[in-house]
């Protein structure tokens, strides 16, 4: 195409040629600048967070990450309860969401009758579009009471011998946070997994069918085996979303900076503490500590997302589209 453009230009009168070069150059440079804005945004984000957290970095150093006390009044600030809360709630979310999402993606691409595929896909896309705050509202007034009255007592009587399911039941809890994150990340893991399964060549399936495999065996051996790496990428992408999920978690996790073995105990996440305390931060050190929590969150999510994108891009089926 570039060659074709150059050729037409050769035959144009000189005056127009200059004009044309000028127009083309301006347009190309402008669009280049806008495309490069993504790098600028990434750099800006890192810079602003690092700049904002320098006070806390200076005052606490590495102890910030290991400190388990969060007392803004005495300015004893440690991020460990939030790191713990983010990791545990995301782990719960993945435990719930990964099997469900992959099974759903398999169902959508391999097993479901044709007429059901489109509506199911639409429902999953609509679930992805539900704003976090709305899910949180539903979480506070519908899900948490239900968990408190039904699921948690049941878990306590059945698995109460495990430290995970001991202690008083409040409803708002690490487990509630994990469940709401699971609901939020299921659509993205499902739709990315679906794209990946769809990009598995038909020949893979036909070969397995020709050997007399049942539909499930075809799926397990020929499809899932082939798509393993891509599916892993989808899961990591889901993890990235889980770590940064804010509003819905903030509304159901209980917002208590503590490290407890029990999943029934309230917790706190990196994202929630920023959401709750940022506008209330009264001292410079306090505010700076919240910036540093943001910096930690940014670092972790960028690492996770880079890993996910690398996995997805090197899996490289043509059908694998970027997901929002």
């Amino acid at each position: 195409m570039a060659k074709a453009a150059a050729k037409t230009e050769l035959q144009a009168p000189p005056e127009k040629l200059v004009q044309r070069r000028w127009g083309d150059a301006v347009f190309e440079r402008t669009s280049l600048l806008t495309a490069l804005s993504v790098f600028a945004l990434l750099a800006l984000t890192g810079y602003e967070l690092a700049h904002g957290s320098r006070l806390a970095l200076h005052k606490f150093g590495w102890r910030f990450l290991a400190g388990s006390e969060w007392n803004p009044v005495s300015e004893q600030l440690g991020a460990l309860p939030f790191i713990f809360g983010t990791l545990v709630s995301s782990a719960i979310a993945l435990l719930i969401a990964v099997p469900l999402s992959i099974a759903t993606a398999v169902y959508l691409t391999e097993l479901a009758p044709q007429w059901l595929r489109q509506p199911l896909t639409l429902f999953i896309e609509l679930l992805a579009a539900v704003p976090s705050v709305i899910l949180g509202l539903w979480g506070i007034y519908v899900m948490v009471p239900w968990l408190r009255e039904h699921l948690f007592p049941l878990l306590k009587t059945t698995f109460g011998f495990l430290p995970l399911f001991q202690g008083p039941i409040y409803g708002v809890s690490m487990l509630a946070g994990g469940i709401i994150i699971a609901i939020m990340i299921v659509p993205i893991i499902t739709s990315v997994s679906r794209e990946i399964l769809r990009s598995v060549p038909g020949l893979q399936r036909e070969a397995a069918y020709a050997l007399g495999a049942t539909r499930w065996e075809v799926t397990r051996i020929a499809v899932l085996g082939y798509a393993k790496k891509g599916l892993f990428g989808a899961v990591i992408l889901g993890l990235g979303r889980a770590l940064g999920e804010t509003m819905a978690v903030t509304m159901v996790i209980g917002n208590t900076p503590q490290i407890k073995a029990s999943l029934f105990a309230p917790g706190y996440t990196l994202a929630s503490v920023i959401a709750n305390e940022f506008t209330e931060a009264t001292t410079d050190v306090y505010l700076s500590a919240l910036f540093e929590i943001g910096l930690v969150l940014l670092g972790v999510t960028i690492l996770v997302n880079v890993a996910a994108q690398l996995l997805l891009k090197t899996f490289g089926g043509p059908g694998v589209k970027p997901q929002n």
Binding site: M1, A4, T8, D24, F27, E28, T30, S31, L32, T34, A35, L36, S37, V38, F39, L41, L42, T45, E48, L49, G52, P99, L100, T104, Y107, L108, L111, A112, L120, L122, F123, I124, E125, L126, L127, A129, V130, P131, S132, V133, I134, W138, Y141, V186, P187, T214, R215, L237, G244, T246, M247, A271, T279, L298, T301, I302, N305, P322, Q323, N324
Partner: protein, 283 residues
């Protein structure tokens, strides 16, 4: 032996299909439940006053979210001013120019950017806009949502631009039309429907964002008279009402959530119906 084996395999086949179906139903169940409860608890408070009145002080029942609804649309307008030109032009660059290596990196950065938690954007814009302007403002809210739209729109625009057949570009260039005009008048115009679709989806996505607005737009219980003042937004209002201790505010929160979710769902469904149309009747 082989007969039982066969039967076992067949049974397992049916069993796994049933398990997969159960998982799929479980996955979409929350969508149904959320809609059910929003309608049940919210529909009673969605009335004329809801769309036309300001919030009432605590203790007085009634009132509405008119300022928050207007605020959300103002914020979306500001966001579009930033997100649409930058996003679409960036998509043009990815699709029409650039080396494949540079473009790989740009796409990579855009995808990573899409994964940055929205609360982080809030902090960045707080430091970048709110602190220098010495106050929360509609500007800050619009800027943060606009920034979030850039990578979203860039990727969808690129995708639809690449669907434009190369023959269109070649035909235009062969007529001696400069490349930039070819792109603006032929390529972009052909892909317009897809680009608008991408923009609408991006708007629907940021319309429900709450976290980045907490310390940029901040919220406001009254009408916003200047873009340099704090402004109300539907998701912020839902959040503030949801965590408040007042029953009347809870009802308003449900109503607000119902309206917001219906808006977002309408855009999502509408856009999908339109694009399905496009794929059925290829140009």
């Amino acid at each position: 032996m082989s007969a039982t084996n066969h039967r076992w395999r067949k049974f397992k086949n049916v069993l796994m299909q049933a398990v997969a179906l159960a998982c799929a139903l479980l996955v979409v169940a929350p969508l149904g439940l959320v809609f059910y409860h929003l309608i049940k608890s919210g529909i009673g408070s969605v009335n004329w006053a809801f769309f036309t009145q300001l919030p009432k002080p605590v203790g007085e029942s009634g009132g509405g979210m008119a300022n928050a609804i207007a605020g959300t649309f103002i914020l979306l307008g500001l966001a579009a001013l930033i997100g649409v030109p930058v996003g679409v032009l960036g998509g043009v660059y990815l699709s029409e120019y650039g080396s494949s290596r540079l473009n790989w990196w740009i796409r990579f950065a855009a995808d990573v950017l899409n994964g940055v938690p929205s609360i982080i954007w809030g902090i960045v814009v707080y430091a970048l806009v709110v602190v220098p302007m010495k106050g929360f403002s509609a500007w800050a809210g619009g800027i943060v949502l606009g920034m979030m739209m850039i990578p979203l729109i860039m990727r969808t625009s690129e995708e639809v631009l690449q669907l434009v057949p190369n023959g269109y570009r070649e035909a235009s260039l062969a007529l001696g039309i400069p490349r930039w005009r070819t792109i603006v008048q032929i390529v972009l115009r052909t892909a317009m429907k897809g680009i608008v679709t991408g923009v609408l989806l991006a708007l629907a996505r940021v319309a429900g964002e709450t976290a980045p607005l907490l310390f940029t737009a901040f919220g406001n219980r009254f009408w916003n008279h200047s873009l340099s003042d704090p402004i109300a937004a539907l998701p912020l209002q839902i959040f503030n009402y949801a965590i408040s201790p007042y029953d009347d505010w809870h009802r308003q929160a449900w109503a607000g959530a119902l309206v917001l979710l219906l808006l977002i769902t309408a855009v999502n469904v509408g856009v999908r119906v339109l694009t399905r149309d496009r794929f059925q009747k290829p140009a």
